[in-house]
């Protein structure tokens, strides 16, 4: 299914990126799907009472959404065999308009023997990184 040709890849190659919009309804939907009902992700009063500037997105929503550019590029979600991230900053989700997460990726390394590719993903809001050390390993073997 439309897998990239391993032999044509080089370290540094960009893969197509995306902009992902997130608003309160996105958080409610993710809470239900993931069973993570921490109110900091949908309740303003609660979020500000524990010192947050606003409702913030589930880190796991950001992680789960950011991998989609890699899945689109790889042609099959099952080719993502490893995926790790560090949550470097929260994603505030304003009540009125929500926010946009910009996601980009590039080839970090190639394992010739196992035909595996490590994609370095960046995810940012307004130019500030929200994920760091976000690495996905894609098996093209």
């Amino acid at each position: 299914m439309g897998a990239p040709d391993f032999d044509q890849l080089s370290v540094g190659d960009q893969i197509p990126g995306a902009t992902v919009h997130v608003e309160r309804a996105t958080m409610v939907r993710y809470a239900g799907a993931s069973l993570d009902f921490n109110p900091i992700h949908y309740d303003d009063r609660f979020a500000t009472s524990v010192g947050l500037p606003d409702v913030i997105a589930h880190g796991m929503w950001t992680m789960g959404s950011a991998i989609q550019i890699v899945v689109d590029w790889a042609g099959d979600a099952g080719r993502v065999v490893e995926y790790t991230v560090r949550f470097s900053a929260p994603v505030p989700v304003p009540y009125d308009s929500g926010t946009d997460v910009a996601v980009a990726g590039r080839v970090k390394s190639l394992d010739e023997e196992r035909r595996r590719v490590v994609i370095d993903i960046t995810a940012s809001v307004g130019g500030a990184k929200v994920l760091s050390r976000a690495l996905a390993t894609v098996d093209l073997g």
Partner: protein
């Protein structure tokens, strides 16, 4: 309150068996914008060699967080959940989770350390089928903020 270093190395009980369903995969896929039809259409999944629809790459967190909850609620560990910040997360998939899989998960506390007034806890969770096949290994780092 710092996290009790004595829980380092401890493995907590496995979760009750959880059956991965097509409906939950579809719900989760929609929630994270996972549009690959391999999550939604069993015919597509079979064409690609899977026995049924497969879960998105971060779906296993659903099961893993149930297992991690055993650590979070252990009074001996002393984790103040209201001060918890998720620092890192990782997945190693030995194969994709597939609809129909019946899985359990168990969490091991890999490391507890103090860092600048905070406590950092590394957790590793194995997600296995009830037949004992290891499907996914998840790792997470949680930070428990100190009083200051």
């Amino acid at each position: 309150m710092a996290v009790n270093p004595k829980v380092e190395g401890r493995t907590y009980p496995a979760t009750k068996p959880y059956v991965v369903s097509r409906a939950k995969i579809a719900e989760f896929a929609r929630a994270v914008g996972a549009t690959d039809p391999v999550h939604l259409d069993p015919a597509v999944a079979r064409e690609r060699g899977y026995s049924d629809v497969i879960a998105p790459p971060t779906f296993a967190v659903l099961v893993a967080q149930q297992a991690e909850a055993h650590v979070m609620t252990d009074p001996e560990a002393g984790i103040d959940y209201s001060r918890l910040v998720h620092g890192e997360e990782g997945f190693v998939h030995h194969r994709p989770l597939v609809a129909g899989d019946e899985v359990t998960a168990h969490t091991t506390v890999v490391r507890v350390r103090a860092a600048g007034g905070h406590s950092m806890v590394n957790l590793r969770t194995e997600v296995d089928t009830v037949d004992g096949e290891n499907v996914t290994t998840t790792t997470s780092v949680v930070v428990i903020r100190g009083d200051s």
